[in-house]
Amino acid sequence: MSSAEIPLPAGRHAAEREQRRIWWLVAVWLLLSLAACLVIWFVWYPHLPPGDMTTSARHQQFDIAVLAVTAAPVILGVFCYFAYVLVVFRARPGDDSDGAPIYGNAKIQAAWIIGTSMIVLWLFVFGTVELIVPAGAGAGEGASPIWKQSGAQTVAWTPGTNDILQVQVIGQQWTWSYRYPQFGGMESTVLDLPVNTPITFHVTSLDVIHSFWPYLLGVKADANPQVDNVAYTTARQTGSFIVRCNELCGIWHGAMTSNGTVMTPVAFKVWATAVQAREKANGTLAALPPYALTYDPTVIPQLGKDLVNVVGVTGAPGYFYGPGNPVTP
């Protein structure tokens, strides 16, 4: 493409010709890069996944756009160069001669090394800042995050304030359920969230490893058994979204989805209190274990002495501790 308009080498002023050609090449590359960057930034960026529904999603969108703008000139540079050399330096039919014996060029090599190092340094600084500033950028941050989200830790959540909403995400083979500790630890199969509210997800699993991925929320955190994996986000728009499982977890991994809605804080409060009241009424809250950051499904206080017999058969790791085995948990 770049070298299409370039005459092939001939004549005596070959050296100047070549100089001019190289400037042409550089110019073409710069123009193409500029065009590409403009297109990426102004046309593509607004439509880039995962959209801008939440703060973390916005940051990811921004990062991807910036990386694309950084990458485009590099890719174009290499492609322009190859297009040029492949056309200009191809062996004409019947040409048996060898190329010029160039073993290297200290200047070019040094320049290249410095250049790539600069890019890498920039990527690292940018990535780190973008990781720390939005408190983990929606990725799972383990049990005790060092980059925390601003907001007030409260026992009861009230709309319109800066209270952080705690949501526990429980992965199990093969469905999601969500507990809201600030609403009596009520549990739900849908993930409803208030808009413009700092949200803390506590992601855990009851069996194997799952991965909590509400794509539009720009959150991704592995659900590990007996581990509390924290992720932060703040929704900026109302709307519905889908939660997927992103870590292979068995036969129904592909179908392990659930739905969620981002609603106004007041509407959310209404919904949550309603669910809490209903579950209190029909005894669900009483049946649930007390809210905790992780659960050991083999510990079932209500069953008392039967536990060992039952667990011995189908309980958590108990498969090789038969009923009554003293070391069964």
């Binding site: 007996q226 790791p317 501790y321 070391v327 948990p329």
Partner: protein
């Protein structure tokens, strides 16, 4: 592009020259190979050491050493470890003697080393069959029952090497270790034997080191 098939086969002297070249390469290969083997083995055992420290520091469900945990018999573990150390050091002593030209002393030392190594392996197997805990009752028990089968299998493999050296040493006249043998073939065979022996000593001493390290992890730490 030399069409070699066309050319006459090289003279005996020239062939001997090439053979000497590859003899040298083989001797060096024994040295390099033993060191490289140590490198690879170090990563294999490192994988278990990592598991040990990872599970110990994580102590998930409070079951690094669960409730009612009983440690395997310390005296037995210590005996096994000491046997491995003794075997290595005896063999190392024998190596010094054979370098000084005393083949017979190395042979005795080697036999002792072999015997002690086999004793260590046998005791280890016996210990594994009579463990005071089910393999999966805790993190400790998992690493313990996982590590030792691997280790004793590799110990056995290395001991086979020792057995081969002992077997081969019978066919090398003791005099060859004292002064230059008359023929090239004998010289080379002695040199190969010595190279193999010193490589073996390196690896076997490394195994003893591993035995001690994991004894420290499992019984002392």
């Amino acid at each position: 592009m030399a069409e070699m098939a066309a050319q006459p086969s090289p003279s005996a002297a020239v062939q001997a020259e090439d053979e000497a070249f590859y003899h040298e390469s083989g001797i060096n290969a024994a040295w390099t190979g033993s060191r490289l083997a140590i490198g690879g083995l170090a990563f294999l055992f490192g994988c278990f050491a990592f598991a040990y420290f990872y599970l110990r520091s994580l102590n998930s469900a409070g079951r690094w050493q669960g409730s009612g945990f009983v440690q395997p018999a310390v005296w037995l573990g210590t005996t096994i470890m000491v046997l491995a150390l003794l075997s290595a050091s005896v063999n190392w002593y024998g190596l010094q003697r054979i370098k000084a030209g005393r083949k017979s002393i190395w042979q005795i030392a080697g036999l002792f080393a072999l015997a002690m190594g086999l004793a260590a392996v046998a005791l280890q197997i016996w210990q594994l069959t009579t463990l005071p805990f089910p393999p999966g009752s805790s993190g400790y028990s998992s690493v313990f029952t996982g590590f030792y089968p691997v280790f004793l299998t590799l110990q056995l493999a290395v001991l086979i090497w020792l057995e081969i050296l002992l077997a081969r040493s019978r066919f090398i006249p003791a005099m060859s270790f004292v002064e230059q043998p008359p023929t090239v073939t004998e010289t080379q065979s002695v040199q190969r034997f010595q190279a193999s022996l010193s490589s073996f000593t390196t690896v076997w001493s490394f195994m003893a080191l591993i035995a001690f390290s994991f004894w420290f992890l499992f019984y002392a730490l």
